[in-house]
Each structure stands twice: as structure tokens, then as C-alpha cells.
Symmetry: C2
Subunit: 236 residues, 2 copies
DNA sequence: CGCGAAATTGACCAGACTCAATTGTAGTGG
DNA sequence: CCACTACAATTGAGTCTGGTCAATTTCGCG
């Protein structure tokens, strides 16, 4: 019971992040409701490489990443792949689904998820109106991001794509200029609409130009963030 | 007053399309609320070519297309352009905005819109919970579409992009195989991440292959829809 | 150390872009 | 009705970015 209580609080807090502290959620949710919610809720763990959402399968569930990173991608019959995004803790998955899932989702690192059935999500939303609001905000943000990615995929050069990728992963904060990539070159290539060879070559070109340093295959240090941001934006 | 009533009903029906008939909406909305709503609501008209949403400007309003077609695009400082979508009657605009608009919106044909302020939208949503639901559904659908476009922009060949574009515009229905494009070759090129020359050449290649017929620059007849759909999907 | 997978590097190729010339299409005014 | 203009679209020739294919090299791990 306490565990269930914790589960529901977790869900409401971690799934929703709708501005309500988990404590206050606990206070607000009657015990019988929590029991009801718990039946729709489940915590899952996956190893790196495992697929937990399959493209074209009926979209039954909704997920929230609680730990680790995942990769979302769409596939073409001949194997061509487009990584549409990477999911980190706190992100929602399955929203884009309308009938069937439109993408594959695979664990990039050991992954922990919270799963909610569609029905459970509806229940949650009716109980926490802020959740629906939060989801709408989240979806809007995702749409903005998607537009930026269309610009990247449709109009940017390889150099600009890599610069965009690096600055994006360095985050907005000026704090840390060393980024550790949890994904392979293949993932990066499929994310940027390039080949692994081009990613490798372009990364080395940026290194030769003194813009980055490649400590390790997965560890990159940004030496001149402003210049990279300028390249990313398409500045001459 | 009657006009206002009509405006609000129009808004609730046309903006929301949330499963509630406008008649019943009229019945449900008290007159004082309608007056309140009307202050947040406005009908606008634009001529072809006019811009009504400017990238990077504060996102004050939310729009619904009621008549005509619009073009959404993002720009790079040097003028490179990516058309992220075309909006037709019934579509929402401005959802993707989070603080500032992330795109430009321009009338492609004479255009009629319904404008709602952000505050008015909040008010509407609190009065019609179905509206928020409807917006979330819409956003989810848009996200799915966006993923498909990322695949197109990142991984498809020019031929596949054109085939995708044509079948997409022919709609799902098997009814009509003649499509009339309300946009220029430049718009198509910027939508597909190609140049106008490549669009023109590829279109003629499809014509030579007996897959389409180009009655007029803007009027295209699909002669072999299944084949086009196969190409669009990347079938060998 | 040694194996297999991932990443890098090089040589070559091709699909799409660029630049330029030509043709076609609306729209305008004589 | 027909030039005439301005712009959109097509067509052609040549180039270049990024892809393909193949050979090493490096990394991760038992």
C-alpha cells in the first residue's frame, strides 16, 4: 500500500511534472484513487539495445523516461533509418502515437521507464487537469524542436549539422564545454541525416580547425562555443 | 450581440472542432461568457503573399485557418529557407510557439483566419475542456507528421520526396487523382529540402516514366498511384 | 593478448546543386 | 487582341558536397 502510494506519487510527479510537488499530490489523491491509478501504472527496466516501442504496432501505452537515454527512430523498408530524437530522463514517449506508433524506441543505455496505459493516462488527466496542460506544453515544445530539425535536415551542410548537434548537446548553460555522447557514430549519422564517414570526417575537420578536441571517441570538448554556435546557425 | 454570439460559436466550433456541434456550444455558453470570449477573438483576412506570423517575434496569438492556404517556414540568416508545412482550413497555428514564434507564416492564397489571444485561448480551454483535449490530439498528430518529414528530409532521394509529396497531397482517399497545387515550385523545393531545378527535373522524370501527367504547371494528374506510393515509401 | 565491432581514413563516384540560357505564364496597358 | 514586361519554370552543362566501397586503425572486452 505504501509502495503503491509511492508509485502513484512517483507517477504523478515524474510523469506529470505539472508543477505540483509529489507531497501535495499525495495529499490530494484519495487512497482509493491511488489504488486505481496503480493498476494502470508500471515501472520497467531495459538493457542497452533493447527495443520497447515498435513502429507500426498499436499504441497501447504511454511512457516516461526516469533514468537513462533512449533513441527514437523511424525506418524504411530497405533499412534506411532516421533517428528522430533522443530521450533523456523526464521525457514523455508515445504522445506522437495516434492509433499506431510512428517510431521505434530503443534503450541507448540501461533504461528505467514508467509505463501508463492509454486508459490510465486518461484517468490521470481527468484527475490532474494540470497534467493535460503539461502534456500540451510539452508537445508544443517538441513541435518547435521538430521545426528546427527540419531546417537542419533540409537545409544545413554537414559542418553546420555537426556544429548544431554539438552545441545542442552542450546545453544552453555556459557551464560545461565537455560533452559525453551516449550514442554511437551511427546514431549521430542517422540523427543528422548523414553517413558515419561524413560524421567522422566533419568532426575531424572541426578538430583541425581548432574548434573542438576529441579526448575520446565519446568525449568531446568544445574549444570555441561561440564559433560553433555561429556555424550552427549558418553564419557565413 | 448576435454577431458576437456567432463569432464565439464560430470560434468554439471552428477553433475547437472538439466533437461538440456549434449549436450545442451556443446552448452551453452563457451570454456573459460569450461577450468575454468575443473580446479575445477576431476574424482576419490576408491577401496572398502577406506574412501574418513573424519568426522570433513574441507569440501573443493563436490562429485557426478558416479559408485558404498558408505556408509555414523557418529561415536562416543567409536566406536559406525550410518550409515546415502548409496549413489548410481547420488547422491550428501558433501552438508550436513557446515564448517566441519559431516560424514565419504567410498566406499562399487569399486567407481567412480566426485569431485568439493566448489569454483568450486559456479562457476557452478552461470553459471547454474538450478543446484542450482536441489541441493535444492535434499536436500529437502534428508530431507524427513531423517525424515522417524528418525521415523524408534526412533519408529520401529526390524522386522519393516528390512521390511522397504528390501522394500526400492526393490525400488518402482513392477518389481524386488530379491535384492542384496552391504553391510555387520554390515552395515545393523548400518544403522538400531540394532546389527548384531538381523539383522540375524530377517531376519531368516521373512524367517520362508514365507515372504522372502535368496538365498545367499547377495541375498534376497521378496516373499510377500505387507505384508512386511504393516509391514514396522507398520500395526498391 | 586477441577477437569482433566501431571508428577512421582514403580513393572514387554520383546525386543534387550552381550557374546560365531559354521557354512558358500571368498580368498590364496600348 | 496583341505586344510587352516581370517572373516562374524548364532545360542544359559543369561542379561539388556528401555517399559508396574498401582498407586500416582503434576500442572494448573476455
Amino acid at each position: 500500500m505504501l509502495l503503491r502510494h509511492h508509485d502513484a506519487a512517483n507517477l504523478a510527479a515524474e510523469c506529470a511534472r505539472c508543477g505540483v510537488r509529489s507531497a501535495s499530490v499525495c495529499a490530494v489523491v484519495p487512497d482509493e484513487d491511488i489504488e486505481q491509478l496503480a493498476t494502470y501504472t508500471q515501472h520497467l527496466e531495459f538493457e542497452a539495445g533493447q527495443t520497447f516501442i515498435n513502429q507500426d504496432e498499436p499504441a497501447e501505452d504511454f511512457f516516461v523516461v526516469t533514468e537513462g537515454h533512449a533513441r527514437l527512430c523511424t525506418l524504411m523498408p530497405d533499412g534506411r533509418r532516421q533517428v528522430t530524437g533522443f530521450a533523456s530522463p523526464g521525457q514523455f514517449l508515445g504522445l506522437a502515437a495516434d492509433g499506431n506508433y510512428a517510431f521505434n524506441a530503443e534503450a541507448l543505455t540501461p533504461l528505467k521507464l514508467c509505463r501508463v496505459t492509454r486508459h490510465g493516462l486518461k484517468l490521470l488527466m481527468s484527475q490532474f487537469p494540470q497534467l493535460e496542460q503539461r502534456l500540451l506544453t510539452e508537445a508544443s515544445r517538441e513541435l518547435s524542436v521538430a521545426q528546427g530539425r527540419m531546417l537542419l535536415l533540409g537545409r544545413k551542410t554537414a559542418r553546420e549539422r555537426l556544429a548544431s548537434f554539438l552545441t545542442e548537446h552542450a546545453g544552453m548553460a555556459a557551464c560545461r564545454d565537455v560533452i559525453v555522447l551516449p550514442m554511437t557514430r551511427t546514431d549521430i549519422a542517422d540523427y543528422l541525416g548523414l553517413t558515419i564517414e561524413t560524421v567522422s570526417r566533419t568532426l575531424n575537420a572541426l578538430r583541425r580547425d581548432g574548434l573542438i578536441e576529441i579526448d575520446h571517441v565519446t568525449r568531446i570538448r568544445l574549444l570555441d562555443r561561440p564559433a560553433l554556435e555561429d556555424i550552427a546557425a549558418g553564419g557565413a
